[in-house]
């Protein structure tokens, strides 16, 4: 049984070479599933294609004030540096639930039960993960302030709830106009949307909370947090619940960015549909330790099929964007692809991505594919880096 590789390098012939084992193989054990055998025949030698000589270690820099904020469809994350210099990542589920006030006689009991609530204009809302727990109790569905990466136009209470959740994560600014860099998706190529309203509202909320907002492309943040050794040159892919964001960067500058309105939720929807199971069941299957290279059941096969289809979709569109774009740089040296986000945590994701990448034959040389370190916080750390630059 082989572990889930987090990095796959390509040799000059385009074949995979020396996958690196997943650093947290215990994840599979925690989920009760042992890592499955890989179906990819890879060379066991330790040959690696040298791309460029390692850069000299940069001088140590003391980060100033600044926060990073990942405004995701499923989760909101915030990161900042604490007094001891450690990065502390805070997470809250981007969901809420309105409950009738008469059902809650004693609100102090909610506090004792660690249920975060807000009372807004006479209405009582429960935020975050607790809303999922209470949804079943009240026979309601949780409400999402965001849909497909943007503020949901159909959700009237989206903006106030976002404000509360953001405030809960960031707290009070440590200094007036403390810079906060928040991620925004790129405009989708397969859905009619734009970032103006979403960016404007989030900026306004942050400014109201006393911060100085600064937007940043989500995939570009992945480049910032994961491609320092490559002089921030490569392809960053943020695999979120609502969408996949892609950024091709050359020395920190984003040369090509786009997004597709498909993500983890899209996979759940389709698996649920074809399998005839509830959506929550499809999500549970996906998060129960499936390995994309070794499905064990019909449901897992469906998950694998849609994952592979989604990756193909992204890479095909990336190839088309390269063909259509006129100002994409010519990479003389092979570049690396870094994937991040919760949807990329599934076992075998990097392998499947590498397979499809070889098939699609991009017009630029690729040295390999790897998952970002701490993939869940890659975007928010990239935002923190950008915010720290402006302090």
């Amino acid at each position: 049984m082989s572990a889930d590789p987090t990095s796959i390098r390509f040799d000059q012939a385009g074949t995979a070479v020396a996958p690196e084992a997943a650093p947290d193989a215990a994840t599979h054990a925690e989920n009760g599933r042992a890592p499955a055998a890989s179906a990819v025949s890879v060379a066991q030698s330790a040959a690696r294609v040298a791309i460029a000589p390692p850069a000299p270690p940069p001088p140590a820099v003391e980060p100033a004030l600044g926060r990073g904020l990942d405004v995701g469809t499923a989760n909101l994350l915030a990161v900042g540096e604490n007094a001891t210099g450690d990065l502390v990542v805070k997470r809250e589920r981007n969901a809420f639930l309105e409950i009738p006030a008469e059902f809650v006689g004693n609100r102090e009991m909610l506090t004792k039960l660690q249920v975060p609530y807000v009372n807004f204009k006479g209405r009582l809302f429960v935020l975050g993960d607790a809303s999922f727990h209470l949804a079943n109790m009240f026979g309601k569905d949780v409400r999402r302030p965001m849909s497909h990466g943007f503020l949901s136009p159909a959700e009237q209470d989206a903006i106030p709830m976002m404000r509360f959740i953001v405030h809960r994560l960031l707290g009070e600014p440590r200094a007036p106009d403390e810079p906060v860099c928040f991620c925004i998706p790129a405009a989708s190529i397969d859905k009619d949307n734009d970032t103006v309203y979403h960016e404007g509202i989030v900026s306004g909320i942050l400014r109201k909370l006393g911060y100085k907002p600064q937007p940043m492309n989500e995939a570009h943040a992945v480049v910032y947090s994961s491609l320092a050794e490559q002089d921030f040159t490569g392809i960053g892919v943020s695999c979120g619940g609502g969408m996949f964001n892609v950024c091709v960067a050359y020395k920190t500058i984003p040369a090509l960015t786009f997004s597709v309105a498909r993500g983890g939720d899209w996979i759940d929807d389709h698996v649920s549909r074809v399998m005839g199971v509830p959506r929550t069941r499809a999500t549970a299957i996906k998060e129960s330790g499936v390995h994309l290279m070794d499905p064990q059941s019909r449901e897992e096969e469906a998950v694998v099929l849609y994952y592979r289809n989604l990756i193909q979709y992204v890479l095909q569109n990336l190839k088309q964007r390269f063909a259509l774009a006129r100002d994409v740089p010519q990479f003389e040296e092979p570049i690396e692809v870094v994937v991040a986000g919760g949807t990329s945590l599934i076992g075998g994701f990097v392998e499947v991505f590498a397979e499809e990448l070889r098939k699609v034959d991009l017009p630029i040389p690729i040295s390999g594919v790897r998952r970002a370190d701490d993939a869940l916080s890659s975007v928010v750390r990239g935002c923190l880096i950008a915010a720290s630059l402006n302090t």
């Binding site: 820099v61 506090t111 660690q114 509360f164 103006v196 404007g200 909320i205 259509l324 100002d327 720290s388």
Partner: protein, 595 residues
């Protein structure tokens, strides 16, 4: 008509009326009464005048109008006075009636008393005290009558002039009647006394009974007369009240008649002005009503139009959006179909060109093959003939050689024979042999000459054949070359034309596709905006009491990450410094369009 002309009416009404309270009216015995309001009267008069004026507006002069108004007012004053007088008279009559009633009542009471006295007198007939009491009662009645007379004398003389004519008469009649009755009563009393004095028998009862009956009858008559008087007074009062409208109607008729008399008069400017003002006022009112109605309708129409506009705008936007999508799809489809068509055309051209080339090549090859075949055939024939000639020549040479060898061998043998046989046979044989040898030599020479001539002829023939073959080949080559050149030129021209068309079409298609793709993939100008404070304040418009939470009391899920950012930050700053240095040194880093 100026309303000031009617101003004095109010004063006239007030001057000719008196104010009384309801209690006073009730004390007068009134339960219902007609209320004449000065304003109503004025309105009545104004309405009457307006109607008359409106009807006769074209023919009534201003002065006539004023005269009408004045006369109307005078008549109204008269009527009012008359009415007031009537009212007052009625009031007085009622008072007097009430007084008379009270006196009658008192008289009835006295009568009752007297009767009782009569009874007492009956019992104590001839009692002088009873007579004295009767006399005293009579004196009291007289006093009441006198007081009544005096009271009537207190009435306003002006009213008494008329009322006394009636009341005095009636009262006199009543007084006389009462006096008569009193006289009769006194007489009766006296009679009773006399009767009582005369007889104290059962006749007294009969007399008293008769007296009582007479008194009762007289009382009934009196009461009946009083009731009839009251009824007549009431009737008269009602009649007087009813006469008032009649009088108003009469005055109105009077005014109308006066107006009719002056119908022929010329209408002055004031009437016209008044009429005009009234008409203008009416028209203004109507106009205002109409305009108001029209405005309301216009507003409703405008509202509906606005709604329609909004709806149509929304529909228009939707349609435009749909149209844009469809146009884009159509453009894509067109571009695709155009590209496909071009590709097909290119493929067709290529195929045609290829076919043309193939045909040309085949033709040339066939021609060449045919020529080559012919050449081959000729050459083969020539070669065959040449071979045959050579073979013949060789054979002739071989024959010649063999003949020579044979002759030599024969000569040798002959010489050997000659040498061997001694010379006997030799000289003749030798001679014969020599002759034969010479003959053979001659034959050989002739044969050789013939062979040479044959060879020469063959050679000439072959040379001629070769020349003709070469000439033919040259001609064929020329023709073939010309044909090939022609076909090549034609193919090239076709190819060039096709290439040109293809290239131009391809350029157009690529240009269109490029434009389409550029428009689809064009990067818009990045404009960032923030939600305004107004919007955010509106969204979060809630007091602190309305916006509370327990978020500050609860911890958020947090974790520390081992992946730091300092390395990344340092590298970024380092690169920024390097870029700045390069920019300062004016060696811009360019990477194919990426700044």
């Amino acid at each position: 008509m100026p309303r000031t002309a009617l101003k004095g009416l109010g004063d006239a009404i007030r001057a000719n009326t008196e104010t009384k309270t309801l209690d006073e009216l009730r004390q007068e015995g009134r339960r219902t009464f007609r209320v004449v309001n000065g304003q109503k009267v004025m309105r009545i008069i104004e309405a009457i005048v307006d109607d008359v004026v409106a009807r006769e507006a074209g023919e009534i002069a201003g002065q006539d109008r004023e005269r009408i108004v004045d006369e109307t007012r005078r008549k109204f004053d008269r009527v009012l006075k008359m009415q007031n007088e009537q009212e007052r008279r009625i009031t007085e009559l009622r008072e007097q009636l009430r007084a008379a009633d009270s006196d009658a009542e008192r008289l009835r009471a006295d009568k009752t008393f007297l009767e009782s006295q009569v009874d007492a007198a009956k019992q104590t007939a001839g009692d002088s005290d009873a007579n004295r009491r009767l006399a005293r009662d009579l004196g009291r009645i007289k006093e009441s009558i006198d007081s009544l007379e005096r009271r009537t004398a207190d009435v306003d003389q002006t009213v008494m002039d008329r009322v006394l004519e009636h009341l005095a008469e009636r009262e006199a009649r009543q007084v006389l009647g009462l006096r008569d009755e009193l006289g009769q009563l006194q007489k009766r009393i006296e009679t009773v006394g006399r009767d009582a004095a005369a007889t104290r028998t059962e006749d007294i009862d009969a007399v008293v009974a008769r007296l009582v009956g007479m008194r009762a009858e007289e009382h009934r008559d009196l009461t009946h007369r009083l009731e009839r008087s009251l009824e007549s007074l009431r009737t008269r009062l009602d009649g007087l009240s009813e006469e008032l409208p009649q009088r108003d109607a009469l005055s109105e008729l009077d005014a109308r008649l006066d107006a009719l008399e002056h119908r022929a008069a010329r209408v002055p400017d004031d009437a016209f002005a008044e009429l005009g003002e009234r008409l203008d006022a009416r028209e203004d009112a109507q106009h205002k009503r109409i305009v108001g109605g029209v405005l309301r309708q216009l507003e409703a129409v405008a509202e509906s139009v606005r709604g329609l506009q909004e709806t149509s705008l929304a529909q228009r936007e939707e349609i435009l959006g749909d149209l844009d999508r469809r146009l884009e799809e159509r453009d894509h489809a067109h571009a695709q179909s155009w590209a496909d068509g071009l590709r097909h055309e290119v493929d067709t051209l290529r195929e045609a060109l290829s076919d043309a080339r193939t045909d040309a090549d085949a033709t040339a090859s066939a021609f060449a093959d045919s020529q080559a075949q012919r050449d081959l055939q000729l050459t083969a024939a020539f070669r065959q003939e040449l071979t045959a000639v050579r073979e013949r020549t060789d054979s002739l040479r071989d024959l010649q050689t063999r003949t020579a060898e044979a002759q030599t061998a024969a000569i040798g043998a002959l010489e050997q024979r000659i040498a061997g046989r001694g010379g006997l046979i030799g000289r003749t044989a030798v001679a014969n042999l020599q002759t034969e040898i010479e003959r053979l030599h001659e034959n050989a020479e002739v044969l050789e000459q013939r062979t040479a001539s044959a060879l020469a002829a063959v050679t000439e023939r072959l040379e001629a054949l070769a020349e003709s073959t070469a000439r033919h080949a040259e001609e064929q080559g020329t023709v073939l070359t010309a044909l090939r050149d022609e076909m090549t030129a034609a193919a090239q021209a076709t190819a060039e034309a096709g290439q040109t068309r293809f290239e131009s079409a391809l350029d157009q298609a690529l240009d269109k596709i490029t434009r389409t793709m550029e428009s689809a993939t064009a990067r818009p100008i990045e404009i960032t905006a923030e939600a305004t404070d107004v919007l955010l304040d509106k969204i979060f418009d809630a007091s602190d009491a309305e916006m509370s939470s327990n978020l500050a009391d609860l911890d958020v899920e947090e974790r520390k990450t081992s992946t730091g950012i300092r390395r990344h930050l340092g590298r970024l700053l380092e690169m920024r410094g390097a870029v700045s240095a390069n920019a300062v040194s004016a060696n811009a880093v360019s990477t194919n369009g990426v700044d």
